[in-house]
Symmetry: D3
Subunit: 256 residues, 6 copies
């Protein structure tokens, strides 16, 4: 079984949700993505990926989808009027309250599906808080792992297609072609950074940055070569891979 | 003009949003609604109402719809595993952060469309905080005003159809007939309360209650007579009336 | 029995307070009330009403009066130097701490008697928090219910005598005639608002406002016709009505 | 001039309060004081002392009396049902909000008159916070300085008449003889402590204690010799001395 | 036994720490101390004193030394760039978290050794919080008790050698002569204050002050006569006296 | 130039610290590390590494060393009495306050040297907060990057030598051989995890874990082959590499 969490009726919860159920929470963002993409990118990708996951392996893995957390921590874009961001403490409080609520059901596994790289470290911190305080088993997955946390971006972008770059733009073009204006996109790769050995995205030294630190346009990567075809391939591969990951999550046990 | 806020591109914000724009934020809830209704009721009603409003008068009134805040303060249902609730301080923080973000755009009018009666007093408090701290003009509207705050419920329910009662059930049947199990519904009206002159819903004395204080089933009202036809009528009337209200909001000025 | 809570000696508490006792907490405010009234208005009215209640029905109903919370949330008057206001989170913390303290006695019923309309929504929210977190039965009463929450104001004020208007001024003239300077009062009714169908005090759309949004003088209503005679009548009627309400509160039970 | 702060009308504030005005805030407590005294002791003493000060030197020194903060931090008595205590962070928030409000007037000097020894260190901390954050000149005075902070108690009590002891009981007997039941009082001096050189009240080593750590009765001192005559003497001396102190406060300047 | 707390191995804790163990936490500060002393003064004195205590009586009294809390609340020096200060709520949170952690060991006695007078009232408040919330026995000791809290300073400084004055400078010269530049020191005693009967350091009226309120140089006292010889004498006397105090702490019991 | 930050005198700060100065803050931990290592491991490694860095390249790179933050967030070890942990919000508050203090100097670059993997995600989050709120350029470096964040551990440990494993034990043996009891160490590698493709340390799916989730001994890795010689090699390599990284940090500029 599996489906939309919110479609359950209150008295059904104890019998429908069990220790082997997986609760899936997509986390989006409403934030500027340059002139070629709308603010919805991360919300749409997180939600569509989650829905595709549920369609593909939800029944098999007993996955229950929560409504998307559409707004999250996007404060690297606070300079850009229109971006809507929660403070880090607000987002942690939201996650805590959701975790506390879920801890009163039989479900024990909570998976955050994060569409916004700016949340990654905070959500990772939250995994432990939720495990410690609410005894949940907690996991974090990404439609596309941010390069700064072990993922990859195209070679041509020198590994720096991290916000509105080729891959993200492609996936979004596949999902909502009507909302992309590729003609406005230019190459916005901070080439200088690639010369560094340590201080760079995914390097041994991480650093605090705002999205207009590198260029006033606020996107990082080279979306000019994006295409819906590439997006489709990436999207499908992500769904495939995430179903595989969720299958591991389902059978995951700390101790034998 | 008008539409989905999130579909805007970052650089468009300054020219698209103006002082006369209205930002509309639907507030839902994921909480038990008895055995006949799913947990999604308030989220669905708030979102569908908001979408219908935008379809009907969004362009005329320059309304921009934010993604629904699906989860809010539902702690009167904390006893019921499955309900997902934010603490009051978390919800206030979320609203504050959204308000602060919006205050950096040209838009000045923020309207909360609240689908969950349990939020009403807190959202009312938030109206002033957002006005004071972020200089917004703030408004609160309801698809159906809760009886405890001046709205009405059917006479047959003695004015106490406040959670999963006839009207709400009807509206939801109209929107999602597949998710209603009216056969499980019974009359759950705390008749005794009607004998009171002061201490009752909508009476001069308000009181703190949890949804299982009156009956372990946790819904309050009599959904047995609900029908999609009644729901359709109520829904359309609400959209009509709220467009009228939004038109007043658009021209609202504190001083001449 | 009944009396001043603070006059009890520590070791007496367990025997004097019982499940049927009512703890009464007056909530005042120290805030500007225009040029004709002192900042004490809400504090004085809340406290005097509470004292009159205890004198009239305290013994019969086993009411124990707490010291008045003189300062509360008055941030709609923050623009006016001299007003003393707690933040909403501070007031909630104060109420929570008082509730937690009381939960260690045998008393179970806590009644807030609120003299300041600006507190109403927050206190209503607090009712549920105190019930949930400290298992108290909680109630909110008003010497005069604010028009925005179901109360009435004079027809001549178009229902907008909400801050320093005819009724409030009259009651205060009855209680402290020495502190009223009616000669300074003028009609300050935002007539324009009355033309609205939805967006008005007590209308279906509530809105965030500061007391100088309508007029720089910061009071709302028409005190020019106020008199101590009217005040006496209103005051006595309130005490009478509130004793009746407290009698309902005393016998209030959620379940049979 | 001088008087009750709350009796001022909003528009008068700018002309009445000046840089040389003193705002006086009595801080009481509602907490167990043993079997011989009511919970009101600290509130009554703080308030009556403040009123006597205003009567004696208020006009001369331009003192404006705020309503008493009746409830404060009494958590050393949390074990005793009936005691009403704010958390330390709540009390700090209350003081901060009052300080912030006052900072918008012309008055610059805020004096806390503390009737409850359990507040002393926190109020001392608050003095600096209010000076730093709201630019006030802040002072702390006591009707009777607690022995642990440099004050004295009777020799016969070995300097440990710190809660419900001879002096406090006497002062309260003078103010409210009807509320004292001296027949219930016994000697409750933790004699053992007097043998210590360092670890004792007013010693070089301070220590955390709860009022039932020493004896389950929860008062500390020997009230058996208390009398209203002694109380009157102490009360009058305090008022005299505090007017003298306030006179120093009035002319206090950090720099020449 | 006794030693460095951090040198213990996890599994040893239950057997090594017992109810009679004393945990010692030095609290320093990194804050400006005038032109003659480095910012480290309070950290160095607290740490060196603690180490000397452990060397002298640690084994006998079963004292376990925690790493120094180097940074604390120094906001009276916020005006001076370079000073590093925690907010009061941050420091309280740090102390609470440490106390909560320690409460899971067998040790029951926690002693704060405070090198910075600006912390004294807050740490005193913390003593009670830690006792109440984590059931620890808590104590506060000082290398040199600040004059404002019952300690003394030289007569020649009129009792006002409270920050960078003769005694403190001397002790630091003994510990780190290489870091003192006595040639830059001048007499900075706010002589005027000595004329006050009430409002002065250690007087009956305490007051909020910042370190540049008296003089822009920010130190208070007269270090010109400081010497390492005096410092050595003071330091050794402090260690001697504190070992004596810790011996009282070891045998301290609230009840017989 | 370069040295100990705390050794600076207040008035020197403006001339000594410049935009090109680097402030270095070592972050340690006091937490169980199994039976073979003391609780000090992370504190010692962070501090010693920082000191070696300052000795090697501090003058050249103008590095100023802050006192080690000895205690940090170790809540994955809360189950083990003796571990001392700050809550995540406390640690964020500490970092914020330090950042705010530093922002008042001329220095603009703050580098956190983190010795405890459990802090990594939170410190990464803090980098952005400090950049946004206090306009600092912020960096995070590790003596040994945790495998879960892109670092490596020995092949023989299947990449899971993450807490008390071979490398960490070796480095500590080099620094404090007297405090290691290798005879108590055993292989504690959760071999099962290595079979996973996604859910493992450094895998595409991160997960919340407590240190006793895998084995009650609470360390993870295989320290049996540790040696001071390996430790020396690792330590020196780290210092070398970090000086190189700090050199990049020194010349780091967001924009050309």
């Amino acid at each position: 079984m599996g489906g939309m969490y919110e479609d359950l009726k209150g008295p059904e919860i104890p019998s429908v949700l069990s220790e082997s159920s997986i609760i899936l929470l997509p986390v989006g963002a409403i934030e500027q993505h340059g002139p070629h993409l709308p603010m919805s990118v991360d919300r749409v990708i997180a939600e569509k990926t989650a829905e595709a996951i549920v369609a593909k392996c939800g029944d098999e893995l007993d996955i229950w989808l929560l409504p998307t957390l559409s707004i999250s921590k996007s404060n690297e874009h606070n300079w850009s009027g229109g971006t809507i961001s929660l403070r880090y403490e607000t987002l942690m409080a939201v996650l805590n309250d959701i975790g506390e609520s879920l801890s009163k059901t039989n479900a024990k596994k909570l998976v955050l599906l994060n569409g916004h790289g700016g949340n990654t470290t905070l959500l990772n911190t939250a995994l432990r808080e939720l495990r410690l305080n609410h005894l949940l088993e907690t996991f974090l997955i990404h439609p596309a792992l941010p390069p700064a946390y072990g993922g990859s971006s195209t070679e041509d972008e020198l590994g720096m297609g991290i916000h509105g770059g080729r891959d993200e733009t492609s996936v979004f073009m596949f999902l909502r072609p009507d909302l992309v204006d590729l003609g406005k996109a230019e190459r916005r790769v901070p080439e200088k950074l690639a010369e560094n050995k340590h201080v760079k995205f995914g390097g041994s030294v991480s650093f605090g940055w705002l999205s207009n630190d590198f260029h006033k346009d606020g996107y990082i990567g080279d979306p000019t070569g994006a295409s819906p075809e590439l997006g489709e391939k990436l999207f499908n591969a992500a769904v495939e891979s995430l179903c595989e990951a969720l299958s591991e999550i389902k059978s995951f046990k700390f101790k034998e």
